[in-house]
């Protein structure tokens, strides 16, 4: 065998030993560095790994009508997601998953492929807001498809078909722009906030405060323990002043038309109904609005997103004659003015026509109101002059915001000499005053402004601030209109008040401008209006093309003095005020019928036996007697029966 000389060099073995020692010292240094020198840093990192603050989302407050019936609710919405940290072959299951969730299998596979390079803990979102049968599919396949999971979020459930859509508004994720504004500084990325309507105006009340759960999680984000919890503070319920019954009547009356309806309690300023048409379905925004859908809504010439009740600025037409009458009466001109209407009259060298070509003959103030004689009001305007007209119009709130608690109200325009110089650097021409006398020309108002002005006149000068939320039950800080109780008194001579309102009652009687709109047994006072969009000459040239049709107006209230309700209707393209009047009186009748405990005509059960529902999850109608069935709308009623209405002063007994 080999001899001693063949032995391996001792030196080299010893060198190897020192090499090993060096390796161990290096490793020991590594441990020392991590475990002793930097252990604090890594302990914090481990803690951060382990503990996750999971937000507990505060449910947004419900929105109720004035009687406590739910208008806007929340519903649990499930999203389907695919967990990628399981050992399953996702591609093999893709077909079954796609079938169950009604997705395209190739799209599911593409999605899986796109995520291939992403960290495994990141799930793939397959579908948002899945339907109950898709949810059932996931539940039934828990064992076969363990990688398929759901998460739940609460979403807003709005009434369908755009019912009350403009007033309620809708919610959305807070945008980058909003986060930069001071009033949104407390909000976080991903918060759901009101974007329009009441949802926006009362966002602070509705939103509530998210809680948080300090959870111990594992590397897959699964919770394996709980350290502590701060409960969420749910959003406040918001009670609107809206009466669903009246709203239904108003929605039905406006169906298929363009325009707006606003109904208000003139004593308090509580808005009872508000409709704007065309409308939109806010449920489309509750999940995610597609780009196409959004641009379609924004570019629609009829502007379905616009709340015409507070955002349409149009000439009031003949409804302005009531304001003219008050101004004329207060200035002691109107009550003694007598005009012979021959169908037209000449002022400042120009001929102004009356809408009745043959003329009204001898006209006093009363006839001028109920027959809507233009020549009378041309004459009155000439005598008053623009400054006095503007003074009374401004006192009645025209050309300024009403202060209603809805976002983006517009102010409209009430022209005056000062206004013209300021905006056009031009002197006021006396001829312009004549047009203003019948609510034409530069004057532009919103329906809610007109409503408020006529409401003040109907109340003998008591002018209220319109508002849509019942502030009772809301903490002080949440009331957005601090001045909602503010009452302004516009001086109106009581004799003038009775005279004018009596004349307005004759509008709906034979000889008035809207006799067909009258409702037997209900004492309605009102005024029609039809405002030209373009000059009559242009209209003649285009042979009454639909786009050039006139806007029909009607403002009416019942009973004629100290009324309970006032309704303003804007019927765009409605040609004549009497068509608007018919819409308005339907709403007024629905109100009176409800007060007299008659079933409202508009809230009858529909003829078809199809399922009637307002929001997707509300139950079928008529099962327990606590449902109101109205047109397409079904709304839960409170358990207690409706309080019997006390007869309002001036109410005409019926039957």
């Amino acid at each position: 065998m080999s001899g001693r000389d063949d032995k391996v060099s001792e030196f080299r073995v010893t060198a190897a030993q020192y090499m090993i020692l060096a390796i161990f010292l290096l490793l020991a240094y590594g441990l020392w560095k991590l475990q002793v020198m930097e252990s604090g840093y890594y302990a914090t990192a481990a803690e951060k790994n382990r503990i996750r603050n999971v937000p507990i989302l505060a449910p947004r407050g419900k929105i109720l009508d004035r009687e406590g019936r739910t208008i806007v609710d929340n519903y649990p919405s499930f999203s389907a997601l695919l967990l990628r940290d399981s050992s399953r072959d996702l591609n093999a299951d893709a077909d079954l998953i796609a079938q169950g969730l009604h997705l395209d299998p190739t799209e599911v596979k593409t999605r899986i492929r796109h995520f291939a390079s992403m960290p495994q803990y990141q799930p793939i979102f397959l579908k948002e807001d899945i339907t109950p049968d898709e949810l059932a599919f996931i539940d039934a396949h828990r064992n076969e498809l363990p990688e398929l999971d759901t998460i739940v979020a609460h979403r807003r459930l709005y009434p369908r078909n755009g019912f009350l859509a403009h007033l309620i508004g809708y919610v959305g994720e807070v945008s980058e722009d909003m986060l930069n504004q001071p009033q949104f500084e407390l909000y976080n990325q991903g918060d759901v906030v009101g974007v329009s309507g009441v949802e926006r105006q009362y966002n602070n009340a509705l939103m509530g405060q998210n809680g948080a759960r300090r959870a111990v999680v594992n590397s897959h984000g699964r919770e394996i323990g709980l350290l502590g919890e701060t409960a969420a503070v749910p959003g406040k319920q918001l009670k609107l002043t809206i009466d669903i019954d009246l709203q239904i009547a108003a929605e039905e009356a406006m169906e298929g038309k363009n325009g707006a309806i606003v109904a208000m309690d003139p004593k308090t300023g509580e808005i009872l109904a508000m409709v704007s048409r065309p409308t939109f379905d806010p449920n489309d925004f509750a999940v995610r609005v597609s780009r196409d859908e959004w641009s379609k809504l924004v570019n629609d010439p009829d502007k379905p997103l616009l709340n015409k009740a507070i955002q349409a600025q149009l000439a009031p037409g003949s409804t302005f004659k009531i304001i003219m009458s008050v101004a004329g009466w207060q200035e002691n001109i109107a009550q003694t003015l007598h005009v012979n209407c021959t169908g037209s009259a000449e002022f400042y060298g120009r001929r102004f026509g009356c809408w009745v070509k043959s003329g009204h003959g001898a006209v006093d103030l009363e006839k001028a109101i109920y027959a809507s004689c233009d020549v009378f009001f041309y004459t009155l305007a000439e005598k008053l002059g623009i400054e006095r007209i503007a003074k009374y119009a401004a006192a009645l709130g025209l050309g300024e915001k009403t202060g209603i608690d809805l976002p983006n109200e517009v102010s409209g325009v009430m022209p005056s000499e000062e206004w013209k110089i300021k905006n056009f650097k031009q002197k006021w021409f006396a001829g312009e005053t004549i047009s203003v006398g019948i609510g034409q020309g530069a004057i532009a108002i919103t329906p809610v402004q007109l409503l408020r002005a006529i409401s003040a006149i109907s109340m003998g000068g008591r002018m209220v601030v319109p508002h849509v939320v019942n502030p009772q039950g809301l903490p002080l800080g949440y009331v957005e209109t601090a001045n909602y109780t503010e009452v302004k008194n516009v001086p109106i001579d009581p004799n003038g008040w009775t005279y004018i309102t009596d004349a307005m009652t004759r509008v709906l009687q034979p000889g008035g401008s809207a006799p067909s709109a009258g409702v037997p047994g209900i004492d309605i006072a009102g005024k029609t209006g039809s405002a030209q969009i373009v000059s009559l000459a242009t209209r003649a040239k285009f042979k009454n093309a639909e786009d050039l049709a006139q806007n029909g107006w009607f403002v009416g209230f019942t009973p004629r003095r100290n009324p309970d309700v006032i309704v303003c209707v804007l019927f765009q393209g409605g040609e004549h005020g009497k068509l608007a009047a018919r819409i308005a009186t339907q709403v007024l009748k629905a109100y009176v019928d409800k007060q007299r405990r008659l079933p409202p005509k508009m809230a009858e059960k529909p003829k078809s036996d199809g399922k009637v529902d307002m929001g997707a999850l509300w139950t079928a109608p008529g099962d327990d007697g606590n449902k109101l069935e109205g047109g397409r709308f079904v709304i839960d009623l409170p358990k207690k029966p409706l309080v019997a209405a006390t007869a309002a002063p001036g109410m005409v007994p019926v039957n």
């Binding site: 065998m1 080999s2 032995k7 190897a16 490793l27 475990q35 002793v36 990192a45 803990y121 590397s219």
Partner: protein, 365 residues
Amino acid sequence: MSRYVSFRDFDWLLLVFVLMICGLGVMEIHSATVHTKFAGSHIKQIYWVAAGVGMMFLISLVNYQALLDRIHWFYIAAVASLMGVLIFGQKYLGAKRWIKMPGGNHFQPSEWVKLILILAMAKFFTDLRNRELSWSDFMKAGAIVVIPMLLVLKQPDLGTALTYIPIAIMGVFLGGMQWRQGLLVAVLAGIGVGAVFFVPKVHVLKTYQKQRLTSFIDPELDPQGTGYQVEQSKIAVGSGGLWGGKGSQTHGAFLPVPQTDFIFAAFSEEHGFVGALGVLLLYFIVLMRLTQNAQTAPDRAGTFVVMGVVAVLSFHILVNVGMVVGFMPVTGIPLPLMSYGGSSVLFMFLALGMVMNVRMRRFVN
């Protein structure tokens, strides 16, 4: 020749230290897997250790001289089995490393090839008997290791392929490596590392291997990707502190494979610097005991065999613990004796059996 071979000359002290390390390993495997789908792995590990000890005794009885005389047949068999894996192997997680054995077990030939290589190197250098290594012999020694290494790289299994390198280096170093040859080895290593890190299109390495190697440079760049494992391992080790902690990294599954490749991180988290240093000390004692056995070996071949085992064991510890503390890239090399896994445990005990074999024959001449 084998007139007087007795288990009295068996290195019982070495076995005690080795079993202590195995015991800590079993304990940690239990702790890391108790609430996972791998629960019960520690029992299997005990079986593997028991089987390993049995095989160690068996192999110590076969005279290593007889094995060395037939080493060329073993070497051919080793290369053939690696080729067999490439042709008939089971594909699992994108790599062909296993051959399915009758009875449902899987056999990973690249592990026992290490043992063959240790013996082959020993045989090669014993036959040389030169104080200085000639260039042609240097090349031959390199070729003996490089051929199986390329086959393993093809599987691909970079980690195991790397473990063949220290066998070659230890061999040429003890076999009388000249300083120029040492320089060449250093330059080759430098080029290899450079190619991995700086040449973007090295087709030898798979994308995931490159990612593993590059992510190690700055793990925080990609905390949830490939650097994630290194970062989580460092957090586990660091949060263990001096005395150890509750082990949220291990039990919250933040630490990847805490029972195999990252078992040292799991142990360090639960037992702190003191515990981790204790384990390192045990390994150091085992290695020193092994080198002592190498020095008292009856012949040149015995020294080479034992030092080959030392080289493999040291390299495993360096790369595995180095990876756990963030000094080394993630290569998938387990910590011998502690990490869960049959192939790894059996290899270690077979290697120790060879060491015992040499030791028991130290007075044989």
